[in-house]
């Protein structure tokens, strides 16, 4: 079966598709989150060195992954909207930014509350933590720039450009623990394998999947509101509002 992607690029078609998909993603997020919390808080054993405080990683690490992954996807949508001048790609980039900013904030907050009992301080100007803070400012900059213009298409273009420039920060975050002598420890989960105990790993992966599903649900719900705002003078939106 040949799939016509241009059919789904139409805001009216995508609006309906997103409306059907978002509840499924939210339900999956709730199920995976419940399983992840059970494994992380009940099943996983106490860490031999850190004690119970290590359980913060079950939200800190997935939130950090999502903060970077969402930024990457947002920049890709920005690049597509700049290259092909597609309305929906720009709307998706806008829809992803607040969720990405929220996960970046959660990563910084939880890292801070893990750092106090572990390192003895809530904050240190370490390369990993500072570059993650820069990521939060990039998200804020994207949101501010996208909304700074009266013509939303101009806002889309300016914000997309900022998102693409900000991509340089992602390898800096990821490799900061290797490039510099940081207080933040290196990765326990790599593409080549892991040094983590299996139940701890499962708890973390389940929470990461839950956050991923939540991000999909939230961005699809937000893009529906953006479509309504942008297309409010079209016939199909007028009809939709009356039903």
């Amino acid at each position: 079966m040949k799939l016509n992607w241009f059919y789904f690029a139409s805001p009216s078609t995508f609006y309906r598709l997103a409306g059907r998909m978002a509840p499924v993603f939210f339900a999956l997020a709730a199920l995976l989150g419940a399983a992840g919390l059970y494994v992380g808080l009940v099943v996983a054993p106490t860490d031999a060195q850190q004690g119970e405080v290590y359980r913060i990683i079950f939200i800190h690490v997935p939130a950090s992954w999502m903060s970077m992954f969402i930024y990457f996807v947002m920049a890709c949508y920005g690049g597509v909207s700049l290259t092909f001048n597609t309305r929906l790609a720009a709307m998706m980039a806008r829809a992803l930014a607040p969720t990405g900013a929220m996960f970046t904030f959660v990563a910084l907050w939880t890292g801070s509350f893990w750092g106090r009992p572990t390192w003895g301080t809530y904050w240190v100007w370490d390369a990993r933590i500072t570059s993650e803070l820069v990521l939060l400012f990039l998200y804020f900059g994207f949101i501010a720039l996208a909304n700074a213009f009266e013509d939303p298409r101009r806002g889309d273009r300016a914000a997309a450009l900022l998102a693409l420039i900000g991509l340089v920060n992602l390898p800096i975050i990821y490799f900061s623990v290797l490039w510099w002598n940081t207080l933040h420890q290196g990765s326990s989960v790599k593409f080549t394998g892991t040094t983590m105990q299996v139940q701890m790993l499962w708890g973390m992966l389940l929470m990461a999947l839950s956050f991923w599903m939540y991000s999909l649900g939230a961005s699809l719900t937000r893009v529906r509101a953006i479509i309504l705002e942008r297309e409010r003078r079209t016939h199909w939106v007028r009809e939709l509002a009356t039903t």
Binding site: I59, T110, L228, R238
Partner: protein
Amino acid sequence: MKPHEFYIWMSYGMTALALAAELVALRLRRSRSLRRIEEERDLEAQD
């Protein structure tokens, strides 16, 4: 969770709060968009 329950629950609590705040914001944004469409349509109908 002792002796670090404060740090653990502050982390989980803030995450729950952030997720809940985003969900509320999403709902408000949608209802605001729909209200704006209705207002504009009513204004046009008056003209």
